[in-house]
Every structure is written in C-alpha cells, then in structure tokens.
Symmetry: C2
Subunit: 469 residues, 2 copies
C-alpha cells in the first residue's frame, strides 16, 4: 500500500500527502488516464483524513491539471484523451429506456421496420409535391443563393416571415431577434452552450422529449425533473424544485407537449412565469409542434414578451426532416452573443435549406397541407385510441392534437419489457421511462398515431397483454 | 469596507473569512450575478492573507455553487444566467484582428462590398450548372430522401464514395468509420466536444485558420500555438510545446495550409507523428482544401492509419457553402461515441444536403469543374502575386496552390491599420494577427486571389503603401 498515515501532521501537510498519493498512483499507472478517482468519502476513510482534506487535495490537483473534475460525475485522472462518453454520464440505463438507444433504433430503422415509437410522420404524409416544386424553383435561383454562405443571423426574408407567423401566436419577435439554426435540436444545443455551464441545474418536465436528457447529458448539466400534469408542470413541485436546486434554465414545450400531447393552461403559464421571475429562471419554449394544434395554446413567449423566455421552432415535423432548418427567437440582449457562438461553431448556416423552407412556406400549399394533416391525424388519433383501449391500453389525455398518444398500460405490465419483445419483431416502441428522468413511467408508452397503421403492431401488443395472466 | 482583518485567526477560519466576505458581497449585490471576482493575488492582498487561502476559499465557494470557475478565465459570481460571451474569453482584441469580427464582416458583406480577405470563392466560380442539375435530379428522388431524417452516420452511398476518394489520398477509411456532419466547422466542433474539456491545452499552428481560435474559445480550451514553416510546424518548437503544455489535441491542415498555402513535407509529417505517439497526442487534420492541390501532399491520416489522426473534410469550398455537408473519418474506437454525441446535439443530419453532394460528386462534371478551377486559380495566383509584388507586398510562398496568398508588408506597416482603412472603402481584408495567437503577424495579410479582381482593392493598398513615407 502506498497510503501514508498522517495523523500527526498539520492540515496543509495532510492535503499534500493526499495529493502525493494520487500523483504516485497516476505515475505508477495504478490510475490510468481517464480512470475515475476514489470517491471523497472512500478515500478519506482509506487515508484516515477528513473528507474536507480530500476535497482540498482533489481541488488542488484539478487546478494543477493532474486530475479533472466532471461536475456531477466525480474526478478522473488526467490523460491525453478520454473521450466524452454519453453512456458514462449519469446512471447506466437499461438499453430499452436509454434515450439514445431509442433515437438510434428509430433513425437506423430500415424500410422493413415499423416505428410506432418514433417522433415523426411517415414520408407519405409529407408535402411531397410541394417539396419537388420547391426544389425545381430553387434550381432557377440566383447563384449566390446556391453557393454562398448564409448571413450570420440567416436568410432575412425567412426571418421576416417567421416574425409575422409568430405574431399570429401573439409573440412579438422582430426579425433581428430571430436567429436561424440547422434544426430545433441544434437551436437548443446552441442555447445550452450559451446559457449553462457543466454542473448547472436545469429543469425539465417528467416526462419530456427524451433527447432533452441526452442533450443535457452532453452538456453535463445536472438535470432535475418536475411532474407534468395535463395542464402543464405541477406548480407546487415546480416551486419546490426552484427553491431546492436553484436551476438556471427550464426547457419545455407549451403548445403540444411531447410525449403527452398536453397543453399548457393560461393559469399555469401565468404562475410559471411569476415563479420564473422571482427566481430569475430562463425558459426555453420548444414549439416545434405549433402547427399541429387545433386551438391556440398559451405561449410563454407571448406572455413574457421574449424577456426571459426563448422561443424555438423548426419544420422537421411538418415539411421535411431531410431539410435542416430551425430558429431561435431570443431576448434582444442575447442575439449578438448567440450569433458569435453560432459562427464559431457552425460558420455560415444552411442557406439552401433556409431558401427551401422559405419557398415552401410562401407556397399556398403549406396551409392546405397542414389542414389536411391535422384532419388526417385526428382520424388516426380516434382509430388508434379505440384500438388501444380495446386491448387495455389507456390514453392519458382524450384525443390530443398532434401525433402523440401517451398511454398507460394495465397494472403489472412493464413498457420496457414490451419494447424489447417488439424489437425482435422489427417494431420500435417508445417505452415511458425513456421520457422520464425519475423512471416513474414504466407503465407508460408513447404511440405515434401516424405510424400505427400496420396490423403487426397491435398483434405484438395483444400478445404482450395476453402474456400477463 | 467589508473586509475582515484576520491576522490572528487559524487557517480554517481564514478560509471561512474569505468565503464569508465574498458571500456578503454577493448578497449585497456588490458582486452581481456573472461579475468577475477579484483575482487571487489582488484579493489576497486586500484580505491580508496568503494566496493559497484565497484559492481554498474560491474552490470551496465554487464547490458550494456560490461562484463559478471558468478555466483559463477566473471566477465569477454565480447567478441565474451569465451567458457565454466569446468576447470575454481570452484577451480583448483589437476589432480588426478579432477572428469573429473578420468572419462577421465577410459573412455580412452585401453585394457592394469587396472581400479579398474572405475564405471562399465568388459565386460565379462555383459549378452553377451542376448545382441546378442536381436540384432538378433531387426533385425526382424518392420521398423518403426528401422528407426523412438521415441515418445516424449519414447517407451510406455518400460515405462509400468518400471512402473511395480518401483511398486516392492513401487514407484507409472504411465507410463505417466515416460520420457525416453539417459542415467542416461542425465536424471540428463535434470532435472538440468529444475529445476535450474546458481548460484542456490544444495546439494550433501560428498562423492558423482564424475560426479555430473562435471555436476553441467557445470550448474554453487553453490554446497554445507553434510557429508554422513552409514545410509544416516548427518541429523543435512543437516538441517543446508538447513538453511544456502536455496538450491533448493538435488541429492543423496538411495539404493546403490556411492561411499560408504551405504543404506539410513527408519528413515533417513523420517527425510530427513520432512526437504525437510519444506524448499520446491526438491530431485533427482538416483537409477541406484537398481538391485544390496540384501535387498530392503528405496526409497525416495516411501515415498514421487513422489511429491517432482524425481526418475531416467538406465541400463548402469546391461545390457550395450554401449546401452544408462535411465529414469525419475517425479511429474506429471513437465512432460509436461520436455518433451518440451527434444524435444528442443535432438529431438526424442533413439528408437532403448529403443527397445533393452525392449527386454532384457522381456527376462527371465535378472533376471537370475542379480542373478548370485549379487552372483559373493558378492564373489568378500569378496575376495577384505580380500586382502585390509591384507595390511592395511579398508572398511568403511562391505561387502556392489554392486560393490563399499569405504576404508580408514592408517594414513599419501594420496590417490591422490597413484593414481598418480598407473597411471604410467597403473592402474586407484579413490582417495577419487575426490568424496569429501570438500576435506576431502584424505585418502579414492573407489575400484570396479569387476575390482580388477589382481595381479598387489595389488602389486602397497602393494608397496605404504611399502613406508610410
């Protein structure tokens, strides 16, 4: 053993002893680069010193570059390269409820795989004729549009159009407060880089869109979740989480909440904003399902006037996920800094994608497409609800707008279990705990009603239901 | 004054006194959220305690969430939100040599602005006919290509084609080692997130592409630079930097170095890789100018066999900067983790952009376009060199391939000064120090020979030359 007993030494020397011990272990390759150091509690016991002595030693070693601290995860021996592994940040998850695994299964699925668990519409539901026409229109555009970088904020004509569209939802965002991004996900990613640092507490809904978990893990945020009710986050729990964790940021959907399809009520929105103001909380309102709603929901950004709420959107769900284009409407004071960060990390944005989206939105076809899409989704919602109810799977909200139906399974059933079995039949499901930080949704499942047209899906679900007896 | 004199107190109490003082200042809003704390040296003097006492106090306050440490930048009062400001990381720069400012001037430039300092070709030099044809071809593609997310690694057919193209440069990268990204910049950004942590030392060339500085600032890396010679980095200085700073990563261009147009020699490449191996250094080789070279240069990735070298590229410089598509060829052991991070931060990649690039590369036109482009650039290189020499501006390398001519100004001239003056005449120049971490290139300027066709550019330069007498 290389530990030093250091009972009779002064505090400074104790800290140095602990430091020397760790350095020896690194030099002797007992701790290889990237290896995790003993926990503070355990090492204090080993070294027979107080925990605060170990804390001091670790902090000094980190300051001197011998070890690295990963907020929320511990200390690691420094070394040449120990790449970030999302799988290692946070607890190890059952693969079936690992958000990254669910994403990858859906994105990798070939033509023969059914995806009632995925978060997008089938290709045949998208405005194919409009897309083809927009591409032909673009083939005649000026050559600067075809070949040059986008401007720092992104295509001015599209930002003007987005500004007018947001006004329709009561959100006042002038075009120079709008920053185009490569996608909705990239918009949130850029904002996280701008607003938070490793270890910062961030609030999300429980359940919430599963990629929020993966994204926040990549930022090494300390994720805290608040239960979601059919009218928004549980306000009492929200207030408690604010007091307890002092989060800097809350990420949510107001209009059509993913995965539940719930809609934020005006009274909850008002209370939320009051709490946010009291504790100086910033909110990202991800509104990518805006155009699916039947009746306009309360928008936090509308109530707040883009003061502490940042509004984001994209067209991946309504036009095309193949054309990458999203946007951020931000408080004016942050636009300059966000744009600098956008240039540093992506240089020019996707000008061609922005031109395509602009062409499609200007086309009268978009409104007609969305009318048809909403009607088609309503019918699919009715059908899927009825079929699921018939086998004992119960929607949490009765026929929500959009594509998602959040459902509970009968007592004693485990959604992850069913998801694993379904996968062997080439069906990707989305088990509840992939969306739930607290892992309290093991009896829930998210269905995409636009992807449930195939009989095999219900056969697999029926079999799972029958097996529980 | 709220400072406590604490001469007769024990060390533990001293640390606590310093902590209490900072907490009091935060509570009293003397230090507002996001405000920088006094430096350790200054505060030790103020408080009449040792520097290590202040270090201990700051570290504990950071551990308890009252303040935040920003590696390489100091300590800040914690608060709800103190957004990342790239301008505040690192020293304040003269605007004319601030890399972000040069990027923004170029990206924001309207039709009436001349951009001999920018890093891309004029729209009229790009393969316009091919682009229009590719868009019309895509308008007839299957609807999955038009509307669906890309697969996690990106379009398989494009990855196969890139694998064959790299083989032509001696780089063995199988398609499953290739990850498509939104651009070359986004490729490096993704890799930085994967490989480095805040405070990690990273090596770059001096001079190097200026956006590397901005990007690494965004990652809060500790940037260290090594002088670049006409055959690659100065090997003696490189070895010294490795010993002194123990960097984890080196980012460079091998084929056509930006901004100098230099080419890495095989002997330097070999020495570099030997050093990299000895100190377990990872290298990102940014090869986005590959197709401009006249004779094939040594590729680090070819010598190394994608073991510790990561190869990246894009088509922004040769096909279109409006279509965003780049790629990473990485060591096999890192592909899985990189892909997870790509999904978490961008979800599906830009499938449509990848389809467009594939269509363009498959088209026989691409080879013809590049042959013409190289010939046209050679002529522009000869012309621009002659005109610059005539007014006393001397190319560092005689007629390099590609679009960049790195030139020295006569003794006593300041490039930033000329750049500022040129801007008032609507001409964006690229002064040397924007590329130089050590700010040792004040007498250098990068010219893009494809953007120097306008007489006004030489008029402004001549005037600047005349003024020095």
């Amino acid at each position: 053993m290389d530990e030093l007993t250091a009972e009779s030494q002064g505090n400074g020397t104790l800290v140095e002893s602990v430091m020397a011990t760790i350095r020896h272990r690194i030099a002797a390759r007992i701790l290889t680069p990237g290896a995790r150091l003993p926990s503070i509690r355990a090492f204090a016991k080993t070294m027979q010193v107080s925990k605060s002595t170990v804390v001091d030693a670790y902090e000094r070693l980190a300051a001197e570059g011998d070890i690295r601290s990963r907020p929320g995860s511990g200390y690691y021996a420094a070394g040449p390269i120990a790449p970030l592994s999302l799988a290692e940040i946070g607890p190890r998850l059952d693969r079936a409820v690992d958000p990254l695994w669910v994403s990858r299964q859906s994105l990798e699925a070939g033509e023969d795989v059914l995806k009632p668990g995925c978060g997008w519409l089938p290709a045949s539901w998208m405005p194919e004729a409009g897309l083809r026409r927009a591409l032909r229109t673009l083939a005649r555009a000026d050559n600067v549009s075809l070949t040059d970088y986008g401007t720092p904020l992104g295509l001015p004509a599209l930002r003007h159009l987005l500004s007018r569209r947001m006004a329709g939802h009561g959100i006042e965002a002038s075009p120079d407060q709008i920053v185009l991004t490569e996608s909705g996900t990239q918009a949130i990613d850029l904002l996280c880089r701008f607003l938070i640092e490793p270890g910062d507490p961030v609030l999300v809904d429980d359940p919430c869109y599963f990629n929020f978990h993966a994204l926040l893990r990549a930022h090494r945020a300390k994720v805290v979740s608040v239960p979601y009710t059919p009218s928004g986050p549980d306000i009492a729990e929200f207030a408690q989480a604010l007091a307890e964790h002092r989060p800097r940021l809350y990420i949510t959907n107001s209009a059509l909440h993913n995965p539940t399809g719930a809609i934020l009520s005006p009274v909850t929105a008002h209370r939320l904003l009051k709490l946010a103001e009291q504790s100086d909380l910033t909110i990202i309102e991800d509104d990518i399902f805006a155009d699916f709603e039947h009746t306009p929901a309360a928008r936090l950004a509308a109530f707040d006037g883009l003061n502490r709420v940042i509004h984001i959107g994209s067209f991946s769900k309504t036009l095309s996920a193949s054309i990458r284009c999203g946007f951020i409407a931000a408080p004016r004071r942050w636009v300059e800094g966000l744009t600098d960060l956008k240039i540093a990390t992506t240089f020019g944005g996707g000008r061609l994608a922005a031109e395509l989206v602009l062409t499609l939105l200007r086309d009268g076809l978009y409104r007609k497409h969305m009318d048809l899409l909403r009607a088609r989704l309503s019918r699919a919602m009715v059908d899927t609800s009825a079929r699921l109810r018939a086998i004992g799977i119960t929607p949490w909200i009765d026929q929500p707008a959009g594509m998602f139906l959040w459902c509970s399974l009968p007592e004693g059933m485990d959604a992850a279990d069913i998801a694993r079995r379904a996968l062997s039949a080439n069906i990707v499901l989305a088990p509840g705990n992939a969306f739930s930080l607290s892992r309290s949704a093991s009896r829930f499942m998210r269905f995409n009603v636009a992807q449930t047209g195939d009989e095999r899906i219900f056969r697999v679900l029926e079999e799972a239901m029958a097996r529980r007896d």
